[in-house]
Symmetry: C3
Subunit: 464 residues, 3 copies
């Protein structure tokens, strides 16, 4: 049969994980009683209160991140396909990992866990975090590595939530820190260990490039992310806070979009750069995450967005080339620019917003307890959470990178689908002769060549 090691590994590992998930959930998962029919109309109100936000977040994770990453010209199936698989894997695994820490925190021991829709939203948040890290190594890993990375990352991710949120009581409704900063620096750690040795090679690889069609595909991802970001930031909002989340997130995103276009033109000889438009426009959503439910006023949100969009665009045009050429770190999608720096801006904005609230209590109409469990200590808690997140994510990424390096090889033909996606023309069993004859047609799948092309080429070859 001739399966490669990495293929056998993929089948084995994924099968074991999936069966383990089912076994664990059979012992552990029930429906949340409070969502039961006894509560009648109310109950369904609760379902609808969360479900729309859940499905918006799910669109962001799979369509948004998935299509955003299809910009590589020969890696479209992999980008969208792996995102899809990783989401299905991570939702389950995050449910389990989060349930573990929630139980430990609440009871000190393991109980039956009641699945509700907020738990599914947290599952999608875990998937989002993995997708961000995936962006840093896009095109360079095998599917087996991706599954293992996701497995380890969710362990660190849920540990960080336990420490930063459940223990430290930081507020981070939209996940600027616990999702974006975490995902970005985990990815940076990962790519430092795993792919930096080949940075120069990757930069020269002609397949590590976009086309106009793939750029327009990619923008679909960007725009769905931009549109549904208020749902991302507000999905877990308690009643009374979602309104501010929506207004703040929309205003911030409008300004990061405008800021990116301006800086893109400034830094690209008077033209727009598709990469900036696909990514930096979203930095406002990332950066307003921590303070989205706070009284920052529209102007606060707009300022955060403009700053984040500007810094992110500068990142794509100046910091990424520096990291690649001088430091030697290769971050395929530039997640450091879209999620890393804007995530830190988000964490810092959160500290400032929280500090303002603790200084001027009238701002929250005396309801400050709904927002800051730690009262006047809150700003320090926020700062702690930011450092904890940075540490756990970066070292978690480094460690996972070393494990991956130990376990097996990276992708052999980076930035191409062909290594792991079946293609009838090339992969079917054919006599060698036939294959040789067909070789010149290889390109066929790259995009809709038609029979005429082929005739043309045959004609040409016969001429020679």
């Amino acid at each position: 049969m001739g399966y490669k090691k990495t293929q056998i590994g993929f089948i084995t590992v994924l099968t074991i994980f999936q069966i383990a998930f089912i076994v664990l959930s059979s012992i552990w998962f029930r429906y949340d009683e409070s969502f039961d029919e006894t509560s009648g109309a109310d109950f369904d109100l609760r379902t609808d209160y969360y479900y729309t936000y859940y499905s918006d977040v799910a669109v962001m994770v799979i369509i948004g991140f998935g299509y955003l990453m299809t910009f590589l010209k020969k890696y479209g199936l992999s980008a969208a396909g792996y995102t899809f698989l990783l989401a299905a894997f991570c939702v389950q695994w995050t449910l389990i990992a989060n349930a573990f820490w929630h139980q430990i925190h609440e009871y000190g021991e393991l109980h039956r866990f009641d699945v509700d829709i907020p738990a599914l939203i947290e599952g999608m948040f875990g998937a989002a975090t993995v997708m961000i890290s995936f962006g840093a190594v896009l095109g360079k890993t095998t599917p087996l590595q991706l599954i293992l990375i996701a497995f380890f990352e969710i362990i660190f991710y849920s540990l960080n939530i336990y420490i930063s949120v459940l223990r430290t009581h930081a507020t981070d409704i939209g996940g600027s820190m616990i999702i974006h900063t975490f995902g970005a620096y985990f990815g940076m750690g990962l790519t430092t260990v795993l792919t930096s040795r080949k940075t120069k090679e990757h930069l020269k690889n002609p397949d590590n490039d976009a086309t106009k069609v793939s750029d327009v595909f990619s923008l679909i991802g960007t725009i769905f992310l931009w549109l549904y970001w208020p749902s991302f930031n507000g999905a877990l909002g308690v009643p009374g806070q979602r309104f501010k989340v929506v207004v703040n997130t929309v205003m911030s995103l409008c300004c990061s979009c405008v800021g990116s276009y301006v800086w893109s033109v400034l830094l690209n000889k008077g033209k727009f750069n598709a990469v900036d438009v696909q990514n930096a426009t979203l930095a406002g959503g990332v950066a307003v995450g921590t303070s989205a439910n706070l009284y920052i006023n529209p102007v606060g949100a707009m300022a955060i967005g403009l700053i984040a969009g500007s810094i992110s665009t500068i990142g794509f045009n100046k910091i990424t080339p520096f990291l690649e050429e001088t430091v030697g770190i290769h971050d395929t999608c530039g997640v450091h620019n879209l999620h890393g720096m804007p995530g830190i801006i988000g964490g810092i904005s959160g500290i400032i917003a929280v500090y303002a609230g603790t200084e001027d209590h009238s701002l929250y109409n005396g309801a400050i307890g709904n927002y800051f469990p730690e009262g006047d200590h809150q700003p320090f808690r926020q700062l702690s959470a930011l450092f904890i997140t940075l540490s756990i994510s970066y070292f978690g990424g480094l460690l996972t990178g070393f494990i991956m390096k130990f376990l097996g090889p990276n992708a052999e033909k980076p930035f191409t689908d062909e290594e792991f996606w079946f293609d009838e023309e090339n992969d079917a069993e054919e006599s060698e002769e036939e294959e040789l004859e067909k070789k010149p047609l290889d390109d066929e799948e790259s995009n809709i060549s038609s029979s005429e092309d082929i005739q043309l080429k045959e004609k040409l070859s016969s001429e020679n």
Copy 2:
């Protein structure tokens, strides 16, 4: 002018149907009084209770099925365009057909029918069923045939709902049986009669093939279907049941996604097959449909999803080739694998779930009547509904196939847009000479030149 018979037929038939729909609705359709303003706030709550689900289902039917079917390299406009037209046609016709049977069942005679949003949802469900059957004959029919097929299918579809649901009292909230099984076997009946004679020819047709770009397009459809499936299964859920529908459907889909990837690698020489990823990943949504609102626990949903995803993938890789080569049935999209078998799994899962509920009444907290109108007889009712659905759909499909065969020819240039979509280059009135000169340009629409083209050009330039 030189219109072809099938073109004149299309214009005539569709015009007559559309005018008939308008006349019927002028006599028959009013707004649902209970959605009237007198009920104030409540009323709008009802609108919003259903509208979000309606629009998610609508996205699934037109974007989901439409783009899922754009995988054929030269049939993109037809796949998306016919889906769009059929949806607009079927919503109206299903409204009328369902209204007829509802009235017959409730009053024994025809009354004025009050349109509400659940009725629109049922309209989209009718459209979904037709779209499933369309998948079996994709690329092989004329637009005229599609309109006529939709017309006949909705008659059988609404008859089956009358018998299986209104009379037999089967429960099937997500339509595993009445939508997916029905649509798939109607399509199989149809393709048996209509296109099996040309199966070998279709298999050899180079246009019956995908490209990387069309595969990535197609995945957009898949992912929207996957994401909004909880809305499909829960759209008509009574208050108190939607929560379980969401959890069950999400868990089932995660497992069918993982299952499909594993089996795809196993059955395709260690690589992923785009067809499996585009289709079998969704089998969990189909298969959990009947039991989505029942107490099957997360583990039950996960098991159903894993089984359905696995069998569906095996279907695409083993059963479809068998049906094509040995039996001689050509099912373009493999709807038998995605909707047929998983639909039956759904029906059977429903019987088991219902049986468990009738055995252990504590499971439903005594509210079993909300779920099973027939109490302890319910399992048998479910089984009956499954067989009734299989019979009506398959024989309905065969019969419709014979009518189509009698009425006129199939597509002359299967799997291409050019037969029915206007193309300025080729279709404008030009002198014959001009046309001859332009012939070599045909390729232009194939759009995406590849590196080979370029090499070609270089060769050419060097030659000159």
Copy 3:
């Protein structure tokens, strides 16, 4: 560095506007008190009452209009990218402009303005209006012009709302008049002045053309618009009216879709024309806008849809060529057919529906005041609003066109991305020699074969 004037202008103008928006909102914008937490559960109900509709409208504006306009083969990045930027710009600017007029109308002076979600929806409506006008000049303007056009258009747009709605008390829930008619005739005014001199040149330009891939992309936009249109028409619906909006809009769109397909086949030698399918199918949504919340019954909505779809298709096939060739006006997307004429049909349908309501008071169960503030004078008010809208929009468009003409040049390479989008191959600093060597590869990223391919093939065929 060698920035062009239009590039420096773009950076300067957009920066000034963005900073002005932030300054204005810091002085002026606060959160709406009534959405505050004191109101508890209710309050969030209000957020959710509007937010879903807001995000559907946002999808329509950016994904819908953005991808609808990607049909040009070399203008995909620009179409989607400019839509995105304009939306982010217009939401902010419309918020400010509308807030100004609202304050003037309510208080006669300027107060602090409380931002709520309906205000964000109105922001997106402003963006939609600009996008419609953008369609008329698609491919022919510079980014600088687009920003300036948006700036001026929103001034006229908000002035028209002040006069037609706030002062004249016209009812136009879905914006047939104030959004669609306005946007279309503003665009027609604009293109009359700005681009009519080059109409013949544009018509002959081979880049002013679609390909199959870009057509399928474009249909994504169409279908999202079609699907979410009930949200567009109902977004600002008061409780008790949204139900009718949903039913009326869905029924109207189904009929305009069927109508367009029938007329498209009739007018295109028996084949479907992608342009009609991408556009005219939506005319029912436009035309039912004014009367969507009124008691027109399903049959009224269906008739409006069928008429609008038919006239729109006739417009694309007969009126556009007449305008182009005889009058000399070039309307790239045919917005006159999709928004202009159907918008007027919408205005007239509104007059008829209102007249029916004033004649037969029983129709509205005595609640006529909720719909028509002007009672029996309402029909005349509607008519006035239609004429006011037509006048302000067309003359506003002409005036803006003259300003644009005075300020600077149009795009130099119309219908292509290359003038304003950075492309590593072409735009990076390279020695001249390298560039010369690379020249033959140019085409590679453009993906979409261009006239060069064609010449090549012709050459080749002539050689043989």
